[in-house]
C-alpha cells in the first residue's frame, strides 16, 4: 500500500512519555551502530579514489592498503556482529518469518562473501599494480596501466552494488521495522 499524501499518510508510531534501556535496546543500538561503522565507508570510496587519482596519484597504493585493511579489520568483523546482533533481535522479537529479516541476512552474507572473495584480493592486487606502475613512471608524468584501471573498475562496480544493496536494505528495515 503506497500513500504519499502528506495529510492522510501519517502513520508514525505513537511515543510514550519515557523509555528505559533494556538488553534488547542495547543490542539494537549495537546493531545500528555496527551497521553505520561497517557499511558507511562504502559510500566514501568513490570520492576518496576520485580525489586521490586527480590530486595525488602517488598516494593510490596507500589508499588501496587502507581499503583492504578497513575491509579486513573493520568490515569483516562488523558483518559478523551485524548477523549475530540481528539474529538475537529477530529471535527476541519473534520476527523470523518476516521478509526484511531474511533479506537483511542474505544481503549481509552476500557483502561478507564479496569482501572475502572480491574486494580484499582485488584491493591487494591493485596496490601491487599501482606500486609497479608508479615505479616505472617515477620521474615523468604518471601513467597507470590498463591492468590497474581494470582492477579499480571492478572495485568501484562491486562497491557500488554493495552500497545500493545496503540502501535498499535500510529502506526495507525502515518501512517494516521503524528504526
Amino acid at each position: 500500500m503506497l500513500d504519499l499524501a502528506r495529510g492522510a499518510a501519517y502513520d508514525a508510531p505513537a511515543m510514550p512519555p519515557a523509555a528505559t534501556a533494556t538488553p534488547f535496546h542495547v543490542v539494537l543500538a549495537i546493531h545500528v551502530a555496527t551497521i553505520i561503522m561497517t557499511f558507511g565507508v562504502v559510500f566514501a570510496r568513490p570520492l576518496v579514489f576520485a580525489l586521490a587519482g586527480k590530486r595525488d596519484p602517488r598516494s593510490l597504493p596507500l589508499l588501496h592498503r587502507i581499503e583492504y585493511t578497513v575491509d579486513r579489520y573493520l568490515m569483516a568483523p562488523g558483518v559478523l556482529i551485524v548477523i549475530l546482533s540481528g539474529s538475537y533481535l529477530a529471535n527476541r522479537a519473534g520476527h523470523w518469518s518476516d521478509f526484511y529479516v531474511w533479506w537483511g541476512i542474505a544481503v549481509v552474507i552476500l557483502i561478507g562473501a564479496a569482501l572475502a572473495i572480491v574486494m580484499i584480493p582485488t584491493a591487494k592486487r591493485a596496490e601491487a599494480v599501482a606500486r609497479r606502475d608508479l615505479r616505472a613512471d617515477s620521474a615523468s608524468a604518471i601513467e597507470l596501466s590498463g591492468e590497474y584501471h581494470a582492477l579499480t573498475r571492478r572495485l568501484a562496480v562491486v562497491s557500488a552494488v554493495l552500497g545500493v544493496l545496503v540502501l535498499i536494505t535500510m529502506l526495507f528495515m525502515g518501512i517494516e521495522r521503524p528504526l
Binding site: M1, D3, L4, A5, R6, A9, Y10, D11, A12, P13, M15, P16, A18, A19, T20, A21, F24, H25, L28, A29, V32, A33, I35, I36, M37, T38, F39, G40, V41, V42, F43, A44, L47, V48, L51, A52, R55, D56, R58, S59, P61, L62, L63, R65, I66, V70, Y73, L74, H95, D98, V166, L167, M170, L171, M173, G174, I175, E176, P178, L179
Partner: protein, 164 residues
C-alpha cells in the same frame, strides 16, 4: 507482523537513516587510515589530510544538513518535538556540524601544509615529522574520536526513544 504502510513518514525516515549512514560512517575509518599511512607511507600524509578535509567538506557537511532537515520533517510529522531524544539528536547534529566546519576542516588543511613542510625538510630516505604536526594530528584524532562517540551515544538514545 502486518504489512507495513509506506507513507511520507517512513520514506523521509528511511532517507534520514541513509543520510546518517553515509554521513557518519566514514569517520570511523580515520584512526585505521592514519595508522596505516604513518606506518607504511608517511609521505602520503599530506594527501591523506587533504582527502580528510575534502570528505568533511563534500560529504559530511552536506550530509549533516540532510540529516537535520529530514529529522526536523519526521519530528514535525510525528509531533515528537517534546521527546528528549529529538532535542539531543538535533543538538548533537548541530554540535558536530559546527566542530567539523570550524575545527576539523581548517585543522586537516593545516596538518596537510605542516606535513608537506616537514617532508620537504626531511632527508630522502627518512621521514621526520615536527612536534607541531604531531600535536595537530593528535588533536584531530581526539576530536574525531569524540565526535564518533557522540554519534554512538545519539544512536543509543534514538534506539531507546523509538523502541520504548
Amino acid at each position: 507482523m502486518t504489512l507495513a504502510v509506506v507513507n511520507t513518514y517512513y520514506v523521509v525516515k528511511s532517507i534520514h537513516n541513509m543520510a546518517v549512514l553515509i554521513t557518519f560512517g566514514v569517520a570511523f575509518i580515520y584512526p585505521i587510515a592514519f595508522a596505516v599511512a604513518r606506518s607504511h607511507d608517511p609521505r602520503s600524509l599530506p594527501a591523506m589530510h587533504r582527502v580528510e578535509s575534502a570528505i568533511e567538506r563534500t560529504l559530511i557537511v552536506p550530509g549533516l544538513l540532510v540529516v537535520i532537515l529530514t529529522g526536523i520533517d519526521i519530528t514535525s510529522i510525528a509531533h515528537h518535538w517534546g521527546q528528549f531524544f529529538v532535542q539531543w539528536g538535533l543538538s548533537a547534529a548541530i554540535v558536530i556540524g559546527v566542530l567539523v566546519t570550524i575545527v576539523m576542516i581548517p585543522n586537516a588543511e593545516r596538518a596537510a601544509v605542516l606535513a608537506e613542510r616537514d617532508l620537504a625538510a626531511s632527508a630522502a630516505d627518512t621521514v621526520s615529522l615536527s612536534g607541531e604536526y604531531q600535536a595537530l594530528a593528535r588533536r584531530l584524532l581526539i576530536l574525531g574520536t569524540l565526535l564518533s562517540a557522540l554519534v554512538l551515544v545519539t544512536i543509543l538514545l534514538m534506539v531507546v526513544g523509538f523502541n520504548p
